[in-house]
């Protein structure tokens, strides 16, 4: 055995290593491996959030849509195909994933195929019993959505009385079982002044935190979801207040990409088997009832078009002065404008505010704006 192949020297171990994870993503990117995938198990949900991107939940989900949803046998098969394609990190989402009667079986199956399995949920039906079952099935974590620091704000957003209390209860059960929880918050015009309290609530319960101000139009073409986005003044307060220490530093590299892992290391699968470049970029790129995942992933014109994009193809972005601080998501831009390579006024405004906060901060500390 040569030195480089000795098993005793074989492991590269870097607990919590961002560097190793970044290397893994780069490798997946080079090889076009869908390292992360989300499967939308159903569009059914126990809540009716006003910003929901699935469809306008002031109307019921149509029987037709429900009838089209993937059957359990199809979902097992998709999990197998994703494993075959090299996917390692799998999220079950919805709608509300916990409403699927076979969720536990899907987790068990995905674990037997050696995935890291997470569940995106509103947490409102996460009872102690359910958490126990999912812990036994070895779920790796929950991403739980929170829309306000109190019941009146959260429930006015989900349109379901009592949902705040139940979600907080769900978080409690999950944490008691030791399962990692990340609390995801959409900053909206309704809760903008509660973000600090929401972060404290999550952190004091031992949860990770994610905050985003980006909302999208819906799969059904309606866009009243966008009416709930934060206003500029609110965003300025959030970025110079509670999120001040979380804002990534602007990256002034002129080659800085405006692309993400869409269609490269990431993919999404809709409740009816459509393959998307990302669950947040609902561009139908093939359907798993007609083709295998491997065929779609390799040959889909839509996915290949995204893979070929260069910075220059994002015309508004390439010369943009706020690109260094921009958190542009092509999925959000596509959902809101129909143009994957375009720009979107809210995203641009967000980047301007980030840049302004950064400049204010650096000039206060060093007198040098960059």
């Amino acid at each position: 055995m040569t030195t480089t192949t000795q098993p005793s020297e074989a492991t590269v171990q870097e607990p919590s290593s961002h560097r190793l994870f970044a290397k893994l993503v780069r490798t997946a990117d080079r090889q076009n491996i869908p390292l992360t995938a989300s499967i939308e198990l159903t569009q059914r949900c126990n809540l009716a959030c006003v910003h929901c991107y699935n469809f306008d939940r002031s109307r019921p989900l149509s029987r037709d849509s429900l009838a089209q949803e993937l059957q359990p046998s199809e979902i097992y098969d998709i999990i197998d195909q994703l494993a075959e394609a090299g996917c390692l990190f799998l999220s079950f989402t919805g709608g509300e994933a916990l409403m699927h009667p076979h969720l536990n079986d899907f987790v068990v199956h995905a674990r037997s195929r050696h995935f890291v399995v997470k569940i995106k949920t509103n947490g409102a039906t996460l009872t102690e019993r359910k958490v126990g079952q999912l812990a036994a099935a070895q779920v790796a974590g929950f991403d739980i959505s929170l829309y306000g620091a109190d019941a009146s704000t959260h429930d006015a957003f989900t349109l379901v009385d009592g949902s705040f209390d139940r979600t907080m209860e769900g978080i409690r059960h999950a944490r008691r079982s030791g399962i990692p929880v990340r609390v995801n918050m959409c900053a909206t015009r309704h809760n903008a002044d509660q973000i600090e309290r929401m972060i404290e609530m999550a952190e004091s319960r031992g949860c990770g935190v994610g905050v985003t101000p980006f909302l999208t139009a819906r799969y059904d073409g309606t866009d009243s979801s966008l009416d709930h986005r934060v206003e500029r003044k609110q965003l300025e307060r959030i970025y110079s207040g509670p999120l001040r220490d979380f804002l990534p530093k602007p990256d002034f590299d002129p080659k800085r990409s405006v692309q993400c892992g869409c269609a490269r290391t990431n993919c999404g699968i809709s409740a009816t088997g459509d393959v998307y470049p990302c669950i947040g970029a609902p561009i139908p790129s093939g359907n798993l009832r007609r083709q295998s995942f491997a065929e779609i992933w390799k040959d889909s014109p839509e996915l290949n078009r995204i893979r070929r994009l260069e910075l220059e193809d994002f015309r508004s972005c390439v010369t943009c002065p706020t690109r260094p601080s921009c958190m542009r998501s092509s999925g959000v831009v596509y959902s809101n404008t129909g143009n994957y390579t375009g720009a979107e006024s809210f995203t641009c405004m967000d980047a301007e505010v980030r840049m302004a906060v950064h400049r204010e901060r650096t000039s206060a500390t060093s007198g040098d704006p960059e």
Binding site: T5, S17, A140
Partner: protein, 90 residues
């Protein structure tokens, strides 16, 4: 150690990516990336083989000295059992 069958711990998630096994602990606290020989040992440690059998396979596939291979396989198993990535069945 040599009498026990070696298998992956139930808590670990993994995938062979670009010829190398990537292991992730259940709480995602640690990520491991194995080189090709360690990857092969990992694949062989599927619960059906003892350390000696894994080492025999490694000797054959990588044309290495038997004693050295067994010692390296045992080292890796011991390290991985300690990290709860592998377990040993009697």
């Amino acid at each position: 150690m040599t009498d026990a069958k070696i298998r992956h711990s139930e808590e670990v998630a993994f995938r062979v990516i670009d010829g190398s096994a990537v292991l992730v602990t259940s709480n995602e606290a640690a990520l491991y990336w194995l080189n090709p020989v360690a990857t092969r040992i990992w694949e062989l440690a599927d619960g059906s083989r003892r350390a000696t059998e894994i080492s025999d396979a490694i000797c054959e596939e990588f044309e290495v000295d038997g004693e050295r291979a067994l010692s390296d396989v045992n080292d890796m198993i011991a390290a991985f059992v300690e990290k709860q990535l592998l377990t040993q069945n009697a």
